[in-house]
């Protein structure tokens, strides 16, 4: 398969601090590529390098066949980018923001109105075209930012925590748009701290301290990262139980998922013990990506 993004030993240092450490990635066309990792693990730095606005300290990378270091400007017409920081013009209206980016991407005048209409439709912004961005709520702003970054119909879209701080309904709406774009052939690389969003990705890379520590499909990650048996325990006061269970000898890990406890047992035969100990139902479950995330983050640190 021809990859649209490839990096080889991509590295970025800031002073003595290595933000990205010999990263090897390959992203296939049309994928929703989830880029996960703890805060400060180098996700944004990597994305900025891939967008050609930050020079690698070592290693190399190609986006759409263009070299990151020497051909950054050739990449730019073909990519869309949404940074973590909200980056629209507050003092322009929804339409004016879209129009500005349409101009910056040199979309011919006769096509502009049509294209902007498409974006407004796609990002569910209808009815607010003449509103100043300053008056929009966060969820709307993020959808507009997305609209602006895809106004030139890029073949790759880089999204850096696009759904941070927006409500569950807005998040759902946002990801539905991303899935639609991916279905139409756009490659999407997205970072997120929401594991239900990670579930929607077709491929996931997990980085920690700048290094790639896992890269697979969500299914594979769920089935392979955890060693042991994961069970779900429903107890009345999960927080209190958490501390107790963590200290049991046969419990490898214990974490809270909403009101449920996820407990990683050494072996299936310990389920009965746990059932007796907690006096509650104990059911084996397929690990969620959240379990995977926490296990990976802990393992890498430990």
């Amino acid at each position: 398969m021809e990859y649209v993004v490839t990096t080889r030993e991509l590295t970025r240092r800031f002073g003595n601090f290595t933000a990205v450490d010999r990263l090897n990635l390959s992203i296939a066309p049309g994928e929703i590529y989830g880029f996960l990792g703890p805060n400060g693990s180098g996700k944004s730095t990597t994305i900025r390098m891939l967008c050609g606005i930050l020079e690698p300290s070592a290693g190399s990378g190609q986006v759409l066949g263009y070299d990151l270091a020497s051909e950054a400007e050739k990449i730019k017409p073909h990519i869309g980018y949404m940074s973590q920081k909200f980056s629209l013009y507050d003092d322009l209206t929804v339409y004016e923001n879209l129009d500005f980016y349409a101009g910056v991407y040199s979309i011919p005048y006769r096509e502009r109105r049509h294209r902007i209409g498409e974006m407004i439709e796609l990002a569910s912004l209808s009815g607010r075209e003449k509103d100043l961005v300053a008056h929009l709520s966060v969820g709307w702003k993020q959808r507009l930012a997305l609209g602006c970054s895809i106004v030139a119909k890029p073949s790759i879209l880089f999204l850096d925590e696009p759904t941070s701080g927006i409500s569950p309904t807005s998040r759902k709406m946002f990801f539905t748009i991303i899935q639609r774009l991916a279905n139409e052939g756009t490659t999407v690389m997205v970072t997120t701290h929401f594991m239900d969003e990670a579930e929607r990705c077709s491929n996931i890379a997990f980085i920690s301290e700048g290094r790639l520590i896992a890269n697979d499909t969500p299914d594979q990650l769920r089935n392979q990262v955890l060693s042991g048996v994961l069970v779900e325990v429903e107890v009345a006061e999960p927080m209190q139980w958490l501390a107790k269970l963590e200290n049991l000898p046969y419990v490898k890990e214990c974490s809270l998922h909403g009101s449920l406890l996820h407990v990683l047992l050494e072996h299936e035969n310990k389920m009965a013990d746990l059932r007796v100990y907690t006096n509650s139902e104990v059911n084996p479950i397929t690990p969620s990506l959240e379990d995977v995330f926490i296990t990976l983050a802990k393992r890498d640190r430990g």
């Binding site: 703890p38 409500s167 807005s170 899935q179 701290h193 929607r200 299914d219 009101s259 995330f293």
Partner: protein, 310 residues
Amino acid sequence: MIFTETLTKKFSSITAVAGVSLQVQQGDIFGLVGPDGAGKTTLIRMLCGLITPDSGSITMVDNAASGESSASFGYMPQKFSLYGDLTVMENINFFGAMYGLNGTIINQRADEILQITNLFRFKQRFADNLSGGMKQKLALTCALLARPRLLVLDEPTFGVDPESRKEFWKILYQLNQEGMTILVSTPYMDEAELCKRVGFMNNGRLVVVDSPKNMKSRYPYRILEIKCASRQPEIFQGLPEILESNFYGDKYRLVVQEAKIAEAAVVEFLQGRDIPLYRLKETKPTMEDVFVALAEKEVVEWSMSSQPVN
């Protein structure tokens, strides 16, 4: 601990908070949730005295406190509000001094709180060089310096990774165990599950207040989980009884009105297209489902049947 009566705040033509009557009991972990721009931050700022309400009243009662009213509540705002160019300890000393604490007490309490927040090792690090989760924990540390009886937090885990979020909530729970009352707003529904009571705000009004458990048991719809050979995100859209459909990589999650009819419709639909069905089962609603239902639909009937807002 906190009582408000018909609290209202307007910003020019927009009513940010409209007649909110809220009660937070001593020892509560009260979660405030709602869509973007529902008025959560405005409400919290009014409770902290940062915004003057247009009308209504706020009463803060502290049964255990001995009259140090100003020291009895700590506030952690939405934005990181510490000095990035000061070290962890320098920030703590500064905020301690703001509360009028002397050096010995600051050091003593800082050590204590930093142990809880796991920042002890990072005392000499510049706040700018902390990770997102650690920054939030430092902000929490500073809010805790005056030993408040009530802690008010506005989206404390904004942009924080899942593991750090869990750690943060463990700390909140520990504080609550020690007797602290907590009022927290959050966009994360798994965090809402952890609250003892949750208030759902929309358009400036407090729509429902209840325990997560009761909220979920009053959820008016059913949830179906489907695994099949399709990867088209919107394949089930428009089938009878299906209100909403979301695709998560390998499975679909449907919100349906009538489970039996919907199940039949799904099976028939898939058979008609020769798409193999691997699994179809009903699952329990989560707070996320509750949120979506409350936010998107005007479920008048549902909120009426719910326990009246006390």
